[in-house]
Amino acid sequence: MTTIRTLTRPEVRTPSTTKKWPIVMGFLAPALLLYFVFVLWPIIQAMHYSVYHWNGLEPLTDFVGFNNFTKAFGDPVFRSALYHNFIILGLSLALQLPFALFLAVMLDQNLKGRALMRMLFFAPYVLSEVVTAVVWRQIFRPSGAIDAVISGVSSHDFQGLWLANPKIVLYSLFFVITWKYFGFHMMIMLAGLQQIPDELQEAAAIDGASSWQAFRCITLPLLAPAIRVSVFLSMIGSIQLFDVVWVLTGGGPINASNTMATYMYDWGFERHHIGYANAVSVIVFGLSLLVALAYQRWALRRDVEGSLTAMGA
């Protein structure tokens, strides 16, 4: 009997607007205060620092304008880091998300041990990056667990150089990232799947649609909001990737697994070029913004007020 209206946003109808403002402001105050002091102000500061050449220790005097930005795009190491971010982004969208979707659909079936599987699939997300790195470093090290397995199976001494070979380290990294985050995306899709009312499925079955047809024409479109959320978070996450990379490979060897964030950290904390590092962080922020806006424009062109998705930005 309780209907959940989805396309309208019910408003509080108060007698006059003036009475609302204290409430609105009062309710918003804690969040706004926290947000301004610890998020907005640092962002503004970062933008401020980004136009200086500064080692963080001396006074802020060496104004260089956009030099830091041109320097970044002129640095092959930064460009390769940017490239790595987009490789990871592409791989995530092409491999990780379909995989998560597949698992979500699978868990939606009446398989035995569903609940346990669901719990275990999400578990890696809960582990910290440091722990993840320790675990996988041990497994990937020369003559480590993986090498031992392959040696055992192929009966000759195998050394995979998973993290030592510049050509494959990025993909080893992607594997670890997938391991850590696929459960999270799977959960989002699973939740979306459970929103789909049974009646639609039953109606399709009555109309003679095959399982695949039902999936393609009913499930998938109705799953779109969940997929959109997942895609969005995945894209932003790929652009900002830091923790796992830094602890697992440090961006190496020879910058083969560098991301923009590890590059920024290196230049800021190790080389003491704070202004430059802040410029890189502004670039990361700008790219994320660009992606977010472009995505919203493309993905939400049919929606009203963005109310069908969780991303109302």
């Binding site: 080692n55 963080g56 220790l57 001396e58 320097k71 190491v77 090290r141 020369p142 003559s143 050394q159 150089l161 993290l163 030592a164 070979n165 510049p166 380290v169 490979t249 190496g252 060897p253 020879i254 910058n255 290196d266 230049w267 904390f269 190790e270 080389r271 003491h272 070029h273 704070i274």
Partner: protein
């Protein structure tokens, strides 16, 4: 309604937690000696030397990076002894591992918060700190004890003639080798020239022995090879000029890169060396300790690290040391030393007791104990006998006879330039860069300072 009660409890809990959190901001734990880092109750600090018979209580914030024994216990004992002798002084020790220390120090310094006494490697980073006014000129305050330290070593913590701290460990880099493997391959130690070394690499390979163990995963070990070659080829003058003029334009640097590339072309390193770390059970130290390679270019801490990660070659007499080979036709002398060490710098706000404590660390007694750990080489005159290991004694002798001392390049130069050297040399090792690229990269980094 029960909902209110639950919510109320939650709010109460939150308030209580916040109060606890605020109180925890000044948490205190009593001092215990032993394997854990400790802090003691912080008393109010003053910066005046005690002028009355009742000295004002003073706190010294000490940050070091010896996270494990023997260094961890040694520094704790030293602090305890000093505190016992000077009851009004409290020393708060913060121990962090290397990378965490650098990050924490950087952020603290950038916020203007400098520890009173902290780990330092001298060189460009120290110069940055001096320029920013974050470290104290202790030339005068240290006068009572500064002569205890060997003058050559002291220069490590000096910038433009003024002293900003004190070293407690200094050594030079050389080639550590496995005597058994050398005998097996029929190679004579010491290897006299660079040309001999290249030939010997071939000999080792023919005998089925990996010639060189290299931890290029950490990048600085590769830089060691480059720096030694540059020093032998160009000599002291070229190295000094490079630091002053801030470029690698001298042809010696290009030649060094070419010679290094020639070595890399022989493929003399262990498998996966591009990502091999230094100090882990599967690191480059362990490779040598386990008898899986013949040679290792490393500093004075090598035996200690090898001991922790594998069999004790030194104890079984299989470990040897010789200084880096000469370069025929090069301007360098074989008594030119490339190396570095550890020191403590004094923060700009540190109380005078800090300098006095540093004097205690620089005493013959403490220096002797440092030497006895077998992992470091003390710099205090009169403590040389504490170094009993023959190889380390050879290193110490090399230090005392050094005609010129070049600090590690990634310490001597500003951090960004040092990182550029490390990175460019790593590319050389990966066959992804040319010798000219190294010169260009370093010049560009210096220009960007």
């Amino acid at each position: 309604m029960h909902k209110y009660t639950r919510a109320t409890w939650f709010v109460v809990l939150l308030v209580v937690l916040s109060l606890v959190a605020c109180a925890c901001g000044d948490d205190t734990v009593t001092t215990t000696a032993g394997a854990e880092a400790t802090t003691t109750t912080a008393a109010v600090t003053t910066t005046e030397a005690p002028t009355t018979t009742e000295p004002q209580p003073v706190t010294i914030e000490w940050w070091h990076i010896e996270v494990s024994d023997p260094g961890l216990s040694l520094w704790q004992d030293v602090a305890d002894e000093y505190m016992a002798a000077h009851p009004w002084v409290t020393i708060n020790i913060t121990v962090q591992e290397n990378e965490a220390f650098k990050t924490a120090l950087a952020t603290n310094m950038q916020a203007g918060d400098v520890p009173d006494l902290f780990q330092s490697w001298g060189g460009g980073a120290l110069r940055e700190q001096v320029d920013a006014g974050l470290v104290q000129d202790i030339t005068d305050l240290a006068a009572p004890w500064v002569d205890q330290i060997s003058p050559g070593a002291l220069t490590m913590m000096m910038i433009d003639g003024k002293l900003y701290g004190a070293p407690w460990d200094l050594g030079l880099v050389g080639i550590w080798y496995n005597k058994t493997l050398f005998a097996d391959a029929g190679v004579e130690a010491p290897i006299a020239t660079w040309e001999d070394l290249l030939a010997d690499v071939q000999t080792f390979q023919d005998a089925g022995i990996t010639p060189i163990s290299l931890a290029e995963g950490d990048k600085w070990p590769g830089m060691f090879w480059y720096a030694e070659l540059a020093l032998r080829i160009g000599g002291a003058d070229v190295m000094e000029a490079a630091a002053v003029n801030q470029n690698f334009d001298d042809p010696a640097f290009l030649t060094a890169g070419e010679e290094l590339a020639a070595l890399v072309a022989l493929d003399p390193f262990q498998a996966g060396f591009l990502a091999t770390p230094w100090d882990t059970p599967d690191g480059s130290a362990a490779v040598l300790a386990n008898g899986n390679a013949a040679m290792l270019l490393m500093g004075q801490w090598a035996p200690g690290t090898m001991r922790s990660n594998g069999p004790d070659l030194a104890a079984s007499g299989e470990l040897g040391w010789f200084s880096f080979p000469a370069y025929e036709g090069g301007a360098g002398a074989s008594t030119d030393a490339f190396g570095g060490g550890n020191g403590f710098a004094v923060g700009n706000d540190a109380p005078p007791e800090t300098v006095d404590f540093l004097g205690y660390i620089s005493s013959v007694d403490v220096a002797t104990r440092i030497g006895e750990t077998g992992a470091r080489l003390p710099v205090v005159i009169g403590s040389e006998d504490s170094v009993t290991d023959p190889d380390l004694a050879a290193v110490l002798a090399g230090m005392s006879q050094a005609t010129y001392f070049q600090l590690y390049l990634d310490q001597a130069y500003p951090p960004a330039v040092g990182a550029a050297v490390n990175d460019a040399v790593a590319l050389l090792f990966a066959n992804a860069g040319t010798p000219q690229d190294v010169v260009d990269a370093v010049n560009a980094a210096w220009a960007g300072e």
